[in-house]
Symmetry: C2
Subunit: 344 residues, 2 copies
C-alpha cells in the first residue's frame, strides 16, 4: 500500500438542506485511516449505494431512523473488502456487505456485516437487485401487494432500482404491468428490456389520460414509491379491493411545506372507503430478520436464470457522490445508482 | 285490518341534495298497499333503521352501491312482520329483518329476508348491535384493527351505533379505549355506561390537545367513521404499525367540493410510510356471507351477558324519518337512530 492511499476520504453532512439538497450541504474531508481495535475489522469501500431514503436522514424531523448528525459521515450501504482484521469471523480479502457510509474506509465490530462469499459474479448487485432495493420490491409487492395473475400492477420509477424489480416480479406472477418513467428512452428500456407491457412518460402533458388508456381494466396494485402527481393520476383508476404498498414518496422528500390546496386528504379517504382499498406503509429494515434469506434465495435464482435484470447507473469516484445523489432525487439517473469507490 | 290501515305511506327521494339534505329532498306519498304475487310476501314495517350511509345513496356520484332513483322509495334496513304470504318459507306473523325501505309495507320474494324467530327480546336490536352497525364494528375492529391487550384504541362517534360497539369490544379485548363524542352528556355516558377509559368532547376548543393527553402512549388502532378534523387530530398521535379500519366519513358526506388547502394528502402518505400504517376501507355488505353468522353468535352472547350495551334513539312515526336523518348527519342523535313505524 503506497502512502497516498492511507488517507480516508469521507463525505460528511455539512448543513441540513432546506428543500432540494445542494453541493454545499456536503463536505469532503480527509482523515487518517483508523486502525482496527481488538475484535474490529477495517473495511475498504468498493461500491457505495445511493438511495432516496438518504434525503430523510439529512433532515432532523422525526422519522423511522435517527438523522445523520451534522459533520458526521453520510450513511449508506456499501460493498467492501476486509483490509485488516482483528475479528475471528473475517479474513483479509473477504468481500462483505455493510453500512460503511460515504467514505473510503470504515471500522466495524462485525455487527450487521454480511459475507458475500468469493463466488459472487457482480458484487455490486448486493446493493441493488440482491440487496435493499430488490428486497423492498419483493417484500412490498408480494406481501402487501399480493398480485394475482391477470391483475394490473402499476409501478412508478419503473427504470429505477426498486420499480424495475417490482415490475419484473409482477410479470413473473402473470400480471399486466404498466410502468411510469421519465422520458422516452427510459420508457423504451422498461418495455423492451424489462418486459413491462407498457410504460408511460410521466413528463407527457397527457400523462393522466395515457395512464387511464393503459389501464382499461383499472388498477389492482399500485406500488407507491413516488407520490405527488403520479399518485393523483392513479387514484381515480383504482379498482375495488386494490392494494397500495407504500415504500417511498420521492416527489415529496424535498418539500418544505405542504402543497397548496384543495385538501385532497378527504378524497383519498373516500376512495379508500368506497373502493375498500388497503394502503400500507413499510420500512424494509423491519423485515430482514424474518424475510431476507427467503428473498435472497429466490431472487438469486431469478437473476441467474436471466428472469430479473438490473441496470446499474455506475458513478466513478467517491467525490461524485453528492452530485449523483442530487441527480437521483431529480430523477436524472437511469437505473440503480452505485458509486464505484475503489476497484479492489 | 281497518280500511284506514290499508294505505302504504312511503318516503321517496324528491330531489338530490346539494350539501346538507333538507326536508324538501324527501316526499311523503300515500299509495295502495300492494298484494303479494305468487312466491311473494307482504311485509309490514315495524322498525326502520337510519344510518349515515344513506346520504351516499341520495347522490348520483359513483360509489359502491347504486343511488336511489329520484321518486323511488328511500332504502333502509327494517324489522318487519309478515302480513300476507304466498311464499312457502314465511308464515303470517313471522318477524323478519329485510331491506324494506322508508315505507309502511314492502313486497319481497324472500331474497335477503332473514327470519328473527319468535324469541327475540328486542327486535330492533337486529338493526343495531346485532345487525349492520354491530357487525361493522365487530368486523372492522377485529379483522382490520386487530387490537391487542394493552394497546390504545380511539373511536369517534363513541356514543353512536357503530362507535359504541367498537369501544365495548375493544374493552373486552383488554385495550385502553378513548372515545370522542359531541358534548358533555354523551361523553359522560360513554365513560360511565359504556365503560370507555376516557371520552373527549370534539366540540372542545382544546380537542386536539386533550386527545393527545388522553393517549400518552400514542394510538394503535383508530377506527375511522367520521373523518375531518378528528382524523387531523389523530394523525400525529399514530404509533408505528397502527391500523386504521375505515368504515365511514360522515364529516365529509355533505361536502360539495374538496376543502381548501393546504393539501394534506402528502402528509397522510408520509405518515403511512414512516410509521408503517395500514389504512383499509371496508363495506360491511361484502362480508355477510362469510362472517355474519360468527358475529351474530358471539355478539348475541355478549348482549345477553350485559357485556355489550346499546342505546337506541327511538323516533316515533315514519313521517319523522327525514328530520331524524338530517339530525343524524349533524350528530344530534344520542345512540342508534331507529324509527318506530308500527307497534305490531
Amino acid at each position: 500500500m503506497s502512502k497516498t492511499e492511507v488517507i480516508n476520504r469521507r463525505i460528511v453532512l455539512n448543513a441540513r438542506p432546506v428543500g432540494v439538497p445542494t453541493a454545499e450541504d456536503f463536505r469532503l474531508e480527509r482523515t487518517a485511516v483508523p486502525a482496527p481495535a481488538d475484535s474490529q475489522v477495517l473495511l475498504r469501500t468498493l461500491y457505495l449505494s445511493l438511495d432516496p431514503y438518504m434525503r430523510g436522514r439529512m433532515s432532523d424531523r422525526p422519522s423511522y431512523a435517527p438523522p445523520v448528525e451534522l459533520d458526521a459521515v453520510m450513511v449508506g450501504g456499501t460493498v467492501s473488502r476486509v483490509e485488516a482484521s482483528n475479528h475471528a469471523d473475517f479474513q483479509v480479502g473477504d468481500l462483505v456487505l455493510n453500512e460503511g457510509g460515504w467514505q473510503d474506509y470504515a471500522l466495524s465490530d462485525g455487527n450487521g456485516v454480511m459475507k458475500l462469499g468469493s463466488k459472487i459474479s457482480h458484487p455490486s448487485y448486493a446493493l441493488s437487485v440482491l440487496g435493499m432495493p430488490g428486497f423492498t420490491a419483493y417484500y412490498g409487492l408480494l406481501t402487501i401487494g399480493k398480485p394475482k395473475a391477470g391483475e394490473t400492477v402499476v409501478v412508478a420509477s419503473a427504470s429505477g432500482a426498486v420499480g424495475s424489480v417490482v415490475g419484473q416480479i409482477a410479470k413473473l406472477k402473470g400480471c399486466r404491468v404498466v410502468g411510469i418513467a421519465s422520458g422516452e428512452e427510459k420508457c423504451r428500456y422498461v418495455v423492451d428490456t424489462l418486459g413491462f407491457d407498457v410504460c408511460i412518460d410521466r413528463r407527457d402533458p397527457a400523462f393522466a389520460e395515457k395512464l387511464a388508456v393503459a389501464c382499461p381494466g383499472g388498477i389492482d396494485v399500485y406500488f407507491e414509491n413516488v407520490g405527488g402527481a403520479v399518485f393523483d393520476a392513479v387514484l381515480p383508476l383504482l379498482n375495488n379491493g386494490a392494494r397500495i404498498p407504500v415504500c417511498g414518496l420521492i416527489a415529496n422528500y424535498n418539500d418544505t411545506a405542504l402543497p397548496p390546496g384543495p385538501n385532497r386528504l378527504p378524497l383519498l379517504a373516500s376512495v379508500i372507503l368506497t373502493k375498500r382499498i388497503t394502503m400500507q406503509g413499510f420500512i424494509i429494515l423491519d423485515h430482514y430478520a424474518t424475510e431476507f434469506a427467503g428473498f435472497f434465495r429466490e431472487m438469486s435464482g431469478w437473476v441467474a436464470e436471466g428472469k430479473v435484470q438490473i441496470r446499474e447507473d455506475l458513478v466513478d469516484g467517491l467525490e461524485q457522490a453528492p452530485q449523483a445523489f442530487i441527480g437521483l432525487l431529480a430523477g436524472e439517473n437511469f437505473g440503480k445508482v452505485v458509486v464505484r469507490v475503489a476497484d479492489r
